[in-house]
Amino acid sequence: MTGTRRFLVVVPPLVGHVNPLVGVAAELARRGHDVAWAGHPGLVHRLAGDDQRVFDCAVPEGPGRTPDLTGPAAFRFLWAEFLLPLAEAMAPGVAAAIEAFAPDVVVCDQHAVAGALVAQRYGVVHVTSASTSAEIVDPLAAFPKIGRWLTDRLAALRAAIGDPAATSDPRFSPHGVLAFTATALVGDVPAGVRVLGPAIAPRRTAPDFPWEALDQRRATVLVSLGTANADAATRFLTEAAGALALLTDRVQGVVVDPGHVLDRTPLPEGTVVREYVPQLDLLSQVDAVVSHGGHNTVCEALWHGVPLVLAPIRDDQPIVAEQVVAAGAGVRVRFGRVDAVRLAAAVDTVLDPATGHHACAAAIGRVLRAGDGVLTAADHLTSVPLAPGVPDTPENNRIPCCDTESLP
């Protein structure tokens, strides 16, 4: 095809959902296309650069979930209290952006469903960007009424802000789904889904780290629950400290503790505790990661060939954790139940070469590092047919599982 296109990128106010599209937007611009964003300007500017054109969308306050809200209750809360109201709030901003910018293609995050619905109302082709592996595989197919609970609400939303005649699921565009995850996690995918590998986003700033403190004679294990889970972390990190004490002759822990919950917990000598770490640099040095199973951290660890001990808390994390276990690259423990002894045993398991976790993670890492999802995504977006009338196939009752790593 020839000629330049105009792309409008619609994103929710969630860091993990914006990050994969930062590189894609830059690549499109590098190829001479016009790119603008619709979303939260402060967040987009921070992640994608101050030079980005952003159409302001109203975003509601974060839902303020309590840490003990998990499982299906967390799912109900996420959609009913956050993602569906978010779509209603964003819809006028998305519509204004489409009218002002006149995009040829709308690129919309899977959970910013206003992008898909409003694009359809304006007859503009849209392509979905999926930032987690969990929703690609229909993990809760056994619970059809959960699926219907959501699709009923999405249908009502479509009636309010979309094209009432359209039928496709706003989370799965019939013009293509760009899935920023690993084939090793999702396996076979439905037609129309392109698995591009995770978007490993270089950080704009790297926190200081005492590299000289790493003990070369012991295995290094990174313990991190991400930045969004400080409130729920106390019990788990305290057990992790106990596990590190049990492992101290063979393991040195690097513990991320942004909430300072370990300030008064005794730790084995040499343990490095930091509020923040330069995670990507650190992952090239560690032998295992203990994590809650946030999709970003999991993919970054696998990218570096590092096996995982996963203690999923909620949302997409249990599904991502099961995918890692199925891929042979890690083991799973219970976030709310695991104790120091069980956690130490899990760390020993993934560190033991005989279990194969290290080899599996290494093999996955080689595949991930060889791919280039950004270029593939840009190729798809610049070649997707713009003609209206592309078949609008109804999707089945898929179960959404949002990556809420950075839920406000």
Binding site: T70, G71, P72, A73, F75, R76, P139, L140, A142, F143, P144, K145, I146, W149, P318, E322, V333, R334, G336, R337, V338, D339, R342
Partner: protein
């Protein structure tokens, strides 16, 4: 045999199966009653339901269709699912299959 299924026996059976599942991840000696909730009390996840489904099949054979039971639950019912509700399903399934 055309005696009705005893709900207390089913409860004891299920408590044994569930106790095995939760013991795997560190919840030992969990007291399991009709009022025990799958989610809040036992912290069961969908992966555990797969295991439980296998245990039910091993114990009751094809007479109890757990997948169908789960598929029939609304979101709010799944959130609030209790052991007692599954006991009732098992009892009804066994009685439906028994000769009159």
């Amino acid at each position: 045999m055309n005696t009705r299924t005893d709900p207390d026996t089913v409860l004891a059976d299920l408590a044994g199966m569930l106790g095995k599942v939760v013991a795997e991840y560190g919840l030992v000696d969990a007291e399991i009653t009709r009022e025990t909730t799958f989610h809040d009390d036992l912290e069961l996840e969908s992966i555990d339901l797969v295991v439980l489904s296998g245990s039910l099949r091993d114990h009751y054979g094809e007479r109890v269709n757990f997948a169908e039971f789960v598929a029939g639950l609304e979101l709010d019912e799944i959130i609030a699912l209790t052991v007692g509700r599954l006991v009732d399903h098992v009892v009804a399934s066994l009685d439906a299959g028994a000769p009159a």
